[in-house]
Amino acid sequence: MGTPATAPRKNTVRLGDRVFSGLSKGSGIALLVIMAAIAVFLTIRAAIAIAHNEGNFLTTFQWDANASPPVFGIAVLLFGTVVSSVIAMTLAVPVAIGIALFISHYAPRRLAGIIGYVVDLLAAVPSIIYGLWGALFLVPHMTGLFDWLDRFFGWTGIFAYDGTPARSLMTVGILLAIMILPIITSVTREVFKQTPKAHEEAALALGATRWEVIRMTVLPFGRSGIISASMLGLGRALGETMAVATVLSPSFLINASLLESGGGTFAQNIASQFKEAGSMGRDALIASGLVLFVLTLLVNGAARLIIARRKEYSGSL
């Protein structure tokens, strides 16, 4: 049976194979190392800053990181980041679902292709250009809307408006909504397109109108896709820097009115304070960046988990 002289060589891998698989595995590991390094380096600098902080990092309404002793807190930044992102989400998600439905179910086929293409192109417009447009075009055009909101809803306090330039969290939220629209649209559109044709045809055969088809087959099928797309959009909105830095007129106060200027976001604060920051100031900015990092990590991780679960699920459909 076996001829010992020419026994099949076991476990001998060619040198080229070993090098190549080692390289590719190594770069995969390098990627993980980078992720870990981001967390580690930011944490080290953040720990230094927080150790020297004379205020409360979470509740202080102040950012004097360059003073001695340094006093700074992220309360205002957290508020501004969350509020502007929530405004962006509430505006963008319904519209994005509308556009996605328009592309997948309403528009004439030809037009749908072109629009899908344009949406993808718009996702590539750099954020600084949105910022420039927002600051020089959107801000002056917001005053009419804000006056109107103030006239009818000013009594709520949230929509009070004093007529100053509209460089407020609301304008930021609207601009962010415009910016995250393409990404939410393109993800939901892909999900809607995967709706099983049989489901839709079954609904049509039962005499459903087009809207009933969408409500009974497309939306339930795409629900997790919509959720994860929205969270991807949220991740973008949370970390957006330039558009906020150009539009917002920042201050370290929480203004009850969303229409009046003031407030700030993590990313905007880092970008606008950086040039004046000394070494402690930089560490403080890094500490706030760490909070932003963790926040986006959670949101994106959750979105990806939902997508992954859906993948397993839809395999059985």
């Binding site: 194979d17 590719s24 990627l31 993980l32 980078i34 994005a96 750099p126 087009r210 820097t241 960046g289």
Partner: protein
């Protein structure tokens, strides 16, 4: 079989008037156009009478009348279900129009305000010695910086990204591969400013290097890597297994199979992905502010000294807040958008040109 049912059911009283058709009444085809005209007229009339100066308000009133009127009319004639259907269709169309307006305005403003400023002089001169309120100056230093930083970033990110994707598709399985896949996805969502802060804390604060184009390129490569991995992975998965098996059956080592068979097959899609990633990082501003710092003069050496870049140039000019600086900002924004769009269109052209022929 019909006998049983007939015997059990009592005869129904017949309606006095027999319907001539089983269909429900429908609105005639021209009703939609009429409604559109009518609501436009109402919008204009209300606007004129109430003295609303903003045309946007006229449009909004007309749109509201159109949607509500359509709903009421349909529900009166065709019934509630049809009316809801009509309403949903109107809302979908409206959301499309609502989204198109700002995006169209963005492109229009950039082009209209940018074109006067773009000239050969603008492209070939730096801002050296030009004060913020003066006309003139150009973006040569910024263009140079952007190109160098993007190239350096891709030199780092493309090999790492390609190899990682190869690992995930060809070698990886189990825990490590799953972890890498997950973190690549998460990495896609890292805010650019966080990537900038990371390089700042490591490269500049810890290792003591100064501001340079290279530091910016490091941060950009972190942003670029996951995009390259993702798109390459998708493309490699599309390569049919028969090709790999045929090559391996001929005794070709696996690494040569990957290099000579798998990668060349997917090269079109991979190129597209890389170009899209380039377009994405070319427009990044935040890490550049932190790491490259900005410079009005031409600095051809990305490894030493502050540089500039196109997005940073736009930001700086905006921050000056003078009319001539705004003009420069718009012109540079136009150049940047053209740069990004050309990369995008070229990427899609490559994708179409190299697309696997169907029916093979």
């Amino acid at each position: 079989m019909s006998q049983t049912t007939v015997t059990e059911e009592p005869p129904r009283p017949r309606p006095s008037v027999r319907p001539t058709t089983l269909r429900r009444p429908r609105l005639p085809g021209w009703s939609r156009g009429a409604l559109l005209l009518g609501s436009a007229a109402i919008g204009t009339a209300t606007g004129l009478v109430a003295g609303l100066e903003s045309r946007v308000q006229w449009g909004l009133i007309a749109a509201l009348v159109f949607v509500v009127g359509g709903f009421a009319l349909t529900s009166a004639v065709e019934g509630r279900r049809q009316a809801v259907d009509r309403l949903a269709a109107s809302l979908v169309w409206t959301s499309f129009l609502v989204a198109v307006l700002p995006l169209a305005s963005l492109l229009w403003e950039t082009i209209a305000r940018g074109i006067p400023g773009v000239s050969w002089y603008f492209l070939t001169h730096s801002m050296n010695g030009v004060l913020s309120w003066q006309d003139g100056g150009g973006i040569y230093h910024a263009l140079l910086g952007t190109v160098q930083q993007v190239l350096l970033a891709s030199v780092i990110a493309i090999p790492l990204g390609l190899l990682t994707a190869v690992y995930l598709v060809e070698y990886g399985s189990g825990r490590l591969a799953r972890a890498i896949t997950f973190f690549v996805d998460v990495m896609t969502g890292i805010p650019s400013i966080v990537a900038g802060l990371f390089i700042l804390s490591m490269w500049i604060m810890m290792m003591g290097f100064g501001y340079s184009g290279f530091a910016g390129a490091l941060a950009l490569s972190i942003l670029m890597m996951p995009i390259v991995v993702r798109s390459t992975e998708e493309m490699l998965k599309l390569v049919p297994n028969e090709l790999r098996e045929a090559s391996l059956a001929l005794g070709v080592p696996k690494w040569r199979t990957i290099l000579k068979v798998v990668l060349p097959t997917a090269i079109g899609g991979i190129t597209t992905g890389i170009m899209l990633a380039l377009a994405r990082i070319a427009g990044e501003t935040a890490p550049i502010i932190l790491l490259v710092f900005g410079n009005n003069m031409i600095n051809g050496n990305p490894f030493e000294g502050a540089q500039s870049s196109l997005p940073l140039f736009v930001y700086e000019q905006w921050a000056f807040g003078t009319e001539s600086a705004y003009d420069r900002a718009w012109a540079a924004a136009l150049v940047l958008i053209a740069f990004v769009m050309i990369l995008n269109l070229a990427a899609r052209a490559v994708a179409r040109w190299k697309a696997p022929k169907s029916g093979r």
